[in-house]
């Protein structure tokens, strides 16, 4: 399990790959925690952790998957310290997504965003990885440190919830400001963290 100290050229390669993955880290972080400023803080924290742990990165494997694990663990830790409250970003409220074909009303980015943030963290991350990040169920399961069946179930539940909210107009207004809802989310987070074998590495 020992890794030799990286050479100068390996460090340069690592840095190049880390640089290339930043936009993906920002997208994942934004989806997880909502607020752009907090998401970028999380990405910077991830980059510093990745840099410090670079000896543990296997060259040739996916930098995106590797750094997503670090970002996810940092997010879960911060969530448990109550740093993020799933805050809604008012800045996106005016933007409108193009209407999907066959849909009369355009989908508002703000609705999409709010609906996403009402999902429990474990379902939100599963949906982000598979439904937006382009990871397979298998890859998402590895990033989250759980079974493929668990990821499939989380994605399925997240999709059902979003369909109910966005296609049937049933979006809770500010449910994440509600202390009860927040308590429930933290409880679920404890379960997510407890079941995550990869987390211990960082």
């Amino acid at each position: 399990m020992s890794h030799p100290e990286r050479t100068v050229s390996e460090k340069a390669d690592f840095k190049k790959e880390l640089t290339e993955v930043i936009p993906h880290l920002r997208a994942f972080a934004r989806g997880l925690c909502g607020r752009p400023d907090m998401a970028d803080d999380l990405v910077q924290e991830t980059m510093l952790k990745a840099w410090a742990a670079q000896d543990r990165f296997e060259p040739g494997t996916s930098m995106r998957a590797w750094t997503f694990v670090i970002l996810r663990n940092a997010y879960l830790t911060d969530m448990r310290r109550n740093r993020f409250r799933g805050e809604y970003d008012e800045g996106v409220a005016e933007r409108i997504l193009t209407a999907p074909a066959g849909q009369e009303e355009p989908l508002h980015l703000s609705d999409m965003h709010r609906a996403l943030l009402t999902l429990p963290a474990e379902r939100r991350e599963a949906l982000l990885l598979v439904g937006a990040g382009g990871f397979s169920y298998e890859e998402a399961a590895e990033i989250c440190g759980c079974a493929i069946g668990t990821i499939k179930s989380r994605v399925g539940r997240a999709r059902a919830a979003l369909t109910s909210m966005l296609e049937e107009g049933d979006i809770p207004r500010r449910s994440l400001d509600d202390d009860l809802a927040h308590g429930a989310i933290l409880k679920e987070l404890d379960a997510v963290v407890a079941g995550n074998g990869v987390a211990a590495k960082f």
Binding site: K11, K15, L18, T19, I22, P23, H24, R26, A27, G31, D40, Q44, M47, L48, W51, A52, E58, G60, T61, S62, M63, R64, A65, W66, V69, L97, T98, P100, G102, Q103, L107, L109, M112, L116, L127, L128, V130, G131, A132, G133, G134, F135, S136, Y137, E138, E139, A141, E142, I143, G145, A147, I148, G149, K152, R159, L162, T163, L166, E167, G197
Partner: protein, 72 residues
């Protein structure tokens, strides 16, 4: 057939243990949800995500990258 695919995928996962898969998410398409059942909001989620990927990087990231080499 869905069950067979799932079982195969789990066996692969166990074999590879905790190691992160080679080439990561670049290998898309395999083991994805059925595209035919995609709801209308699915492309909205993708747009939301992709719009962040396409944003220009704030200077704070360039500053951080340039500081990394001093770290070790």
């Amino acid at each position: 057939m869905e069950i067979a695919k799932l079982a195969g995928g789990m066996a692969n996962t166990m074999k590879r243990d905790k190691e992160v898969e080679k080439s990561g998410g670049e290998r898309s398409g395999k083991n994805r949800g059925p595209a035919a059942r995609k709801p209308g909001w699915a492309s909205g989620l993708q747009q939301l995500y992709d719009s962040v990927i396409e944003e220009p990087l704030p200077d704070s990231f360039k500053d951080l990258l340039s500081r990394l080499d001093d770290k070790r």
